[in-house]
């Protein structure tokens, strides 16, 4: 009996798959060059695929189980409504304009400015002021000079690791120690800039050798002004935990500002087709108005507006009530990633 039920289930899954279809190329919410773009996918044999694009309706025959169509797109977001077998899908494709691919990888140097070690030590000592004893009692704690130095020595390489991870599948971005004029510099400063980081975006990464700022001083200010805002952080956290907290917050800001330096996410001008909003980010309003895209994640995405990035997301924690079993790294959205791959293609792409 059980075997029969399994067979019925398998047959129904197969029938569903046959009656539906896919859009395989381009991938959802990726950018394309245009103006005419080749779409490719699968659909049930002996059916037609119906595509509605910018007011035009195209009926495309399915050959075998594969269909292809060339559709004209406008610059910016295009939503393609497709009927594939028994299924209807809305599919987002953005046609890029006014940007070109660069031949060389974009090199990035992380520069820890003089004085920043002191600011990092201050963060460690001001946010780890309590200790939980084996009997459960909580007592005061002062980090030793050695622990503070260990904090600094381990945060810096961890920031570099996390920064590299953020760009792993997002174009050819390489960390370097070189000081050439075309190297993008991310400067970590102890000064409080009254914001986590700062960078003027650059459509198409046209300007060489820009400098992004990451304010360790501001992170210290925010952490200490009202520590309770930073849950699930606790004053009793161990050194390892705090190193990961601070490294994740700094790496995120470094990746965010570098994203701006590479051109994300412009609202107008040459890169207006990116449909940025909320001061050059991807925001909730755009997401809700365009359900076919996936560009806003309340901090899940690196280019989410900082004002809408929850503090627990800066730590890689999914909620502020409890520590998770593992941390989650923020990522560039599909759209951002495809833009970065477009302007900074990796060899073989």
């Amino acid at each position: 009996m059980r075997r029969i039920l399994l067979l019925i289930f398998a047959l129904s899954v197969a029938a569903t798959a046959r009656s539906q279809g896919t859009i395989d190329d381009p991938r959802e919410d990726e950018i394309v060059r245009g103006p005419d773009v080749l779409l490719r996918g699968t659909a049930p044999p002996a059916t037609n695929v119906v595509l509605r694009v910018n007011g035009t309706v195209l009926t495309v025959p399915v050959a075998g189980s594969v269909w292809t169509a060339v559709v004209p797109l406008v610059a910016g977001l295009n939503v393609i409504d497709a009927t594939l077998g028994s299924q209807s899908k809305s599919f987002a494709v953005t046609r890029a304009a006014n940007v070109s691919s660069r031949q060389n990888p974009q090199r990035v140097r992380l520069h820890w400015k003089q004085g920043v070690d002191g600011a990092l030590q201050q963060i460690a000592s001001d946010t780890m002021t309590k200790q939980r004893m084996p009997n459960g009692a909580i007592v005061s704690r002062s980090l030793t000079a050695r622990e503070q130095q260990e904090f600094v020595d381990r945060v810096k390489p961890r920031v570099a690791e996390l920064f590299a991870e953020a760009f792993q599948s997002a174009g050819s971005i390489m960390l370097t120690m070189e000081t050439d004029h075309d190297v993008h510099v991310v400067t970590f400063t102890s000064e409080n800039l009254n914001q986590y980081g700062e960078q003027l975006p650059d459509c198409g990464n046209r300007i060489s050798g820009e400098e992004s700022k990451v304010s360790v001083g501001y992170l210290h200010h925010r952490l200490t002004f009202q520590f309770s805002d930073w849950k699930p952080m606790e004053l009793t956290d161990e050194l390892d935990v705090r190193i990961e907290d601070v490294a994740r917050s700094l790496a995120r800001t470094a990746a965010h500002e570098t994203g701006h330096a590479l051109g994300l996410v412009l609202e107008r001008g040459d890169c207006g087709w990116m449909h940025g909003c909320d001061d050059f980010h991807t925001c909730q309003l755009f997401q809700l108005s365009n359900p076919a895209v996936n560009r806003f994640g309340s901090g899940r995405f690196i280019m989410d507006p900082a004002g809408a990035t929850r503090v627990n997301m800066r730590l890689g924690e999914s909620t502020d009530s409890i520590r998770g079993n593992s941390r989650t790294s923020p990522v560039f959205s599909n759209f951002d990633r495809s833009y970065l791959r477009f302007i900074q293609p990796k060899a073989g792409n």
Binding site: Q195, F225, H260, L264, Q284, S298, A308, S318, T319
Partner: protein, 279 residues
């Protein structure tokens, strides 16, 4: 000729910078609690005049002050800048506005912004978020907030509860941010009422949903569930709630259930969110 080219290139770069900005500020930067923490001075400006800045990264203004609201000052005008990365502002925005200012900045801070000046300089907190248009209900409520010495006090909770349903969107948002810090069932219930209230603007309803989701507790999840499943709730609010659920412990299971629901909004949106989470 080469010099002319250089000048033109500089102008082009500067001109593009004028329209390009991006920064990383604090969550809820456009709320009173965050502006309070990031500022030392709050003033009511009469008007502002743009002043040439030595750095392309900032816009500089001379503010003519009408009144001080917080902090010590004995001048009737001061220099303040807005980082371009926080959004470009027009001088008219300062007129009859409450301006939250950090500073005066140290030489080290000014150097980071590329500003060279011997005159004391302030920075508008929160980029353009620190310029708050004065509405009839706003000023007394801001003063009331600034007079609260203990933000864990019943007085502070009362401020947040009352202003959650204020007619002023800035106060609504500020109250929501504050209520999110309490992490109590009572605070979550006030936030739930705000999502369901027609007095709260749509962007603020969406902000409140984010605050509830960040709480991450079982009670928060049950509130989000009831909002999303309530067909009387505005569709954009329901959709925003379904998106927010994915970040809460137990949220993915709820999304799986909704993806099989007869309700079209629940079914379609949760299917999309599940698919996005797998990408």
């Amino acid at each position: 000729m080469k010099a002319l080219h250089l000048v033109l290139a500089s102008i082009l770069i500067f001109a593009s910078a004028v329209h390009l900005a991006g920064s990383d500020q604090a969550f809820g930067i456009d709320t009173l609690p965050v502006l309070y923490s990031d500022s030392s001075l709050v003033v009511e400006a009469d008007q502002a005049a743009p002043v040439p800045a030595t750095s392309p990264r900032v816009q500089m203004f001379r503010l003519h002050l009408r009144e001080g609201i917080r902090g010590d000052f004995s001048v009737d005008q001061l220099l303040a800048f807005v980082p371009r990365s926080g959004g470009v502002v027009e001088s008219a925005q300062f007129s009859n506005a409450m301006v939250f200012l950090a500073g005066p900045l140290s030489q080290g801070q000014l150097a980071e912004w590329g500003i060279d000046s011997t005159e004391p300089i302030f920075q508008v907190a929160g980029g353009k978020g620190g310029i708050v248009p004065k509405t009839p209900v706003l000023r007394p409520e801001v003063e009331r907030f600034l007079s609260i010495s203990d933000f864990a006090s019943p007085e502070a909770f009362a401020w947040a509860t009352q202003n959650m349903l204020s007619s002023d969107p800035f106060l609504q948002r500020s109250a929501a941010y504050k209520l999110g810090r309490y992490e109590t069932k009572i605070a979550l219930d006030v936030l739930q009422k705000a999502v369901r209230s027609s007095k709260v603007t749509l962007p603020n309803q969406e902000f409140v949903i984010q605050i509830i989701a960040a709480d991450g507790s079982d009670h928060a999840l049950s509130i989000l569930k009831s909002i999303a499943e309530d067909k009387k709730t505005e569709k954009p609010v329901r959709i925003a709630t379904i998106y927010a659920v994915r970040d809460v412990v137990g949220g993915m299971k709820l999304l799986e259930n909704w993806s099989k629901a007869a309700d079209v909004v629940l079914q379609k949106t949760s299917t999309k969110v599940i698919q996005m989470s797998r990408d």
